[in-house]
Structure formats: C-alpha cells, structure tokens
Symmetry: C2
Subunit: 120 residues, 2 copies
C-alpha cells in the first residue's frame, strides 16, 4: 500500500481498485450524484439530500474531492459554508458510471427494495 | 431508512443510493472484479488478490452477495472453504460499471497514483 500526499491509501496498482480507493464508500458517489443532478450545491444543500449525510463526513469528502480535482468551488473567495461546489471535467466524467449503477439497481435490486423509484 | 430481510439498510428510494447501499465500500466491487476476470474463485483465491481482503470482511460480503443473488456457489454441496463462487446474471451485469470505473481511474487518477497499470 502506498499513501499519496492527498491522503489516499492506494491498495494496489489496479485501476478499478484505485477508483474504489477514492469512491468506494456509501457517500462519495452521492455527492457526485447531487452535483450531476443540480449543477451547483452548497454545503447546506448537500445536508438536505434524503440520505442525510453527516456534517463531518461531508466536510471530509468535499475536501478530498477538491484535492483530487473532481469538484471545485464556484466562488473561491466566499466563506466555506456558503460557497457552492460544482463538478470539474474529471468529476463529470463519472456520470456514465452513476447512470450504470442506477440502471443496474432498478433491474437487479427491485425485488429486495420495492419502494425504489424509477430514474426518468 | 428501511432494512430488508437480507440486512441491507436502504437509505432512500433513489436507485443510485440503493446500488451504493449494497456496493458502496472498498471491497465488494473487488470481489465482483475477481469473478469477472477469473470466472470462478474459491474463498482462498479471493484472499490472494493484491489488495489483501480480510477473512471476516470476505465472509460477510460473500454472504450478502449470495443473499442478493449477485453470486452463487459453483457446487452447493461442497464445504464452504473449498467451494467456488461465480457471478449470476445480476452480478455479471455490473461489468460495464467496473470497466467504467477502471477507465475513469486511468484517465483522472493517474496524476495522483503514478504506479497504476493500464487495463489491457
């Protein structure tokens, strides 16, 4: 395992494993999802999503995603709490992965989670 | 939040969130990756992958993935330790998501993880 200066522990040289070293948790891809759907989100906006991310996890994830250039501040001079975040080209490139996860869940998890909605 | 009889806590009705309720950790998609690459893997095979999954996490993930019908035993009558696992149609349908994660990492994480290999 090697640790980058951004604080990521790279478990192996495999690209799939490396993607999961950054995105492999229950919250990071939901931040990306909210930015794909809404374009720009403030810190407070993220807290209002139905999954109820905690403030400390949100702050940690926004910091890492900014370090790794997946997201950026819309106005770097404003205060942290009121500032918006948007996807960079790198973050926006995850859209097909998100859509694939959503389509997969609709087809293969519906029998276990009957309340799931359809993506329009 | 609703909990299914399989033990999954569904945080919301969103399909992307639901996919992450099952797959959103650093290990589950690596089990799927190994089965996509090798077809069949025994419990011992999984332990030899370069990321070094721990035995307790492996056992928990294999149990959940079997309950949710993403994987199945190749010979249900053999002992647990020597038995092989393979992907079901549901698990195999994650291949495009895995490939998307790998391609994304190669393009967008290379600057942070210079040792990463190329997927052939």
């Amino acid at each position: 395992m090697t640790t980058s200066k951004e604080g990521v522990d790279w478990r192996s040289v495999c690209p799939i494993s490396s993607a999961l070293d950054v995105l492999g948790d229950k919250w990071t891809m939901l931040i990306i999802r909210d930015l794909v759907i809404h374009g720009t989100r403030t810190y407070s906006d993220f807290l209002e999503s139905p999954e109820h991310i905690s403030t400390n996890i949100l702050a940690l994830r926004l910091k890492l995603l900014t370090c790794l250039k997946l997201i950026e501040r819309t106005n770097p001079d404003a205060s942290a709490r009121n500032n918006g975040f948007k996807l960079t080209e790198s973050g926006a490139a995850l859209r097909p992965v998100l859509e694939g996860l959503g389509r997969w869940a609709q087809t293969h998890l519906k029998e276990f989670h009957s309340d799931m909605v359809k993506i329009p």
